[in-house]
């Protein structure tokens, strides 16, 4: 009886595992199909390095360089803000904060993770954007910089919670060993704790970046959506995700514009894959060591 139950559970788990692979393959297949058919009509090189995105002009232009630059700019900006702040917050919560403050901070961070991105976008639009406009004295507050700040907010809970887990699971004995050698608390955190928790922290950063790259709603609302290559972070930009979301409704199914959006998705997929791959490379290296 128990054997049969075990068998059934094993089958179900196996099935679920296979299912998730099937989904990924299907999505990827679909992207490839539409993307390739687009590239056949409109060259892949022109697509990637083309500077102009005029999908409804005659003839249409499908250059996504400005969108790639927009996405990269906003993402990198968000990381520059979220990674150091997130890691320091995690260190503070797990190593330094007194018990009560720690509990409060943890629930606040969890709360932050639960805020839907539309709300973050909206708050950013009405509160942060005017602030940025006045503070930097620029024509509009809807800029790459504003987007980066809001996205950093969204990535932070992921980075903090997962890094905090990783830091907390560093064996107490490591710290004790370092203390017994005369290390100060700060030296121990920096040289021992952070080092031992590094794989987990890198995973946290990658998941955070993943959330930022894929984010659509908030960036659509606060980055200004101008499809041109910006000269500084204080100009409006448009990201790949926002383009897909904003324009999908206006396209004719199967049309060139429609397939162009799939091609963007393919590029996005490729970039995400690359990020994960690099992360794995790092993790693999630190594990073998």
């Amino acid at each position: 009886m128990r054997k049969i139950k075990d068998d059934i559970i094993e089958k179900i788990i196996f099935f679920c595992g296979i299912l998730s692979i099937v989904f990924v393959v299907l999505i990827f297949g679909f992207l490839i199909k539409e993307g390739i058919s687009f590239f056949k009509e409109f060259g892949i090189v022109d697509f990637i390095i083309g500077k102009f995105w005029y999908p409804s002009a005659n003839p249409p232009e499908f250059g996504i360089l400005s969108l790639i630059v927009g996405s990269v700019l906003v993402t990198v900006g968000a990381c520059i803000i979220a990674v150091p702040v997130g890691i320091m917050a995690a260190v503070y919560i797990s190593e330094l904060a007194p018990k009560q403050i720690k509990d409060i901070l943890k629930s606040l961070v969890e709360l932050m993770a639960a805020v839907p991105s539309v709300v973050i976008g909206f708050v950013g639009m009405v509160s942060l954007a005017p602030l940025v406009r006045v503070f930097f004295n620029i024509p509009t507050g809807l800029t790459a910089f504003t987007g980066s700040i809001m996205l950093a907010f969204m990535a932070m809970p992921t980075i903090v919670t997962i890094s905090e887990d990783a830091i907390r699971s560093v064996p107490w004995q490591y710290k004790e060993g370092a203390f017994a050698l005369g290390a100060t608390k700060w030296q121990t955190i920096r040289r021992i704790v952070l080092k031992a928790a590094m794989p987990g922290i890198i995973a946290a950063i990658m998941l955070g970046i993943g959330r930022v790259i894929g984010e659509t709603m908030a960036v659509m609302m606060i980055t200004g959506n101008a499809a041109h290559i910006p000269h500084s972070i204080f100009e409006p930009v448009r990201t790949m995700t926002a383009t897909i979301a904003a324009e999908m409704g206006e396209t004719v199914t199967g049309g060139l514009h429609y397939r162009a959006l799939f091609a963007i998705a393919l590029v996005l997929f490729f970039i995400t894959f690359l990020v994960n791959f690099i992360a794995d490379l790092f993790l693999g290296r630190s594990k073998n060591k």
Binding site: Q173, A180, L181, G182, T184, K195, A196
Partner: protein, 257 residues
């Protein structure tokens, strides 16, 4: 009090320790003589670890911990000293060997580098320190060809001796061992014991052990703890042959504990 020929390295004066007001060590007074191996024996929960960890203030991290009485290192009150400086002079080795998650080489050089013993990280200077420390810990011959591999891949006995080397690299004056052989096989144990005996020429050693035989093998003097009290302290040979206290006798003959 310091009337004997020997020089006191540490002096424990009427020390009592508490964990959240529970008394785990009661009015312990004893001295630790320079270049001796003082072994501390006693059944579980008799306060041996608590005692040892007080000597280099490792208990200070525990907010439940409090103490009365004083401990002197070369006549200087350790509770008035800088904690990090104290731990550089009074090193500690734990029951479980805990190499840091780095290579063998980095484990040994970690503390000297951090403490600025070596100025600009001159490679030849670091190599010399690592080799000397590993030799003193009788580990050099076993690891000299794999200094750059992870310390986590070594055997338990090797890891424990690596931990000894790590402490030796900062040249402490006193080394505290808390049941360093409890997880080791007899051969590794013998190696660690040999190492300790070789080390007492240059260091003062306090060894807590659950193994009465081990205490009789390596100890110059032995102290017997029971339920937070120091019952008896004296020359190892004498204590094992003719203890003054009945309780000591019961314990070393295996009648309880």
């Amino acid at each position: 009090m310091k009337t004997n020929l020997y020089q006191n390295k540490m002096l424990i004066d009427d020390l009592s320790c508490f964990f959240s007001n529970k008394c785990v060590l009661e009015n312990v007074s004893l001295s630790i003589i320079k270049n001796e191996i003082l072994t501390i024996i006693g059944p579980s929960n008799s306060g041996k670890t608590s005692f040892l960890r007080t000597l280099n203030r490792m208990n200070d991290f525990n907010s439940d911990f409090s103490r009365k009485g004083n401990v002197f290192l070369d006549e200087e009150n350790i509770f008035h000293m800088n904690m990090e400086k104290l731990r550089m002079r009074v090193g500690m080795l734990f029951a479980m060997p805990i190499p840091l998650p780095m290579t063998v080489y980095e484990n040994v050089i970690y503390a000297p580098k951090r403490l600025g013993v070596i100025k600009h990280g001159k490679k030849s200077e670091m190599d010399a320190i690592v080799e000397q420390a590993l030799r003193d810990a009788s580990l050099w011959d076993e690891v000299k060809d794999r200094l750059d591999s992870s310390a986590m891949k070594m055997s338990g006995g090797q890891q424990q001796r690596l931990c000894i080397a790590r402490i030796l690299a900062i040249n402490p004056e006193v080394i505290l061992f808390d049941e360093p052989c409890s997880g080791l096989d007899p051969i590794s144990t013998a190696k660690v014991e040999e190492t300790m005996i070789a080390l007492k020429k240059r260091y003062t050693i306090v060894l807590v052990t659950n193994n009465v035989k081990q205490a009789s093998r390596v100890g110059d003097r032995t102290a017997f703890f029971l339920m937070g009290r120091l019952i008896e302290i004296g020359g190892t040979a004498k204590l094992f042959v003719s203890p003054k206290e009945q309780k000591t006798n019961d314990y070393i003959t295996g009648r309880f504990g």
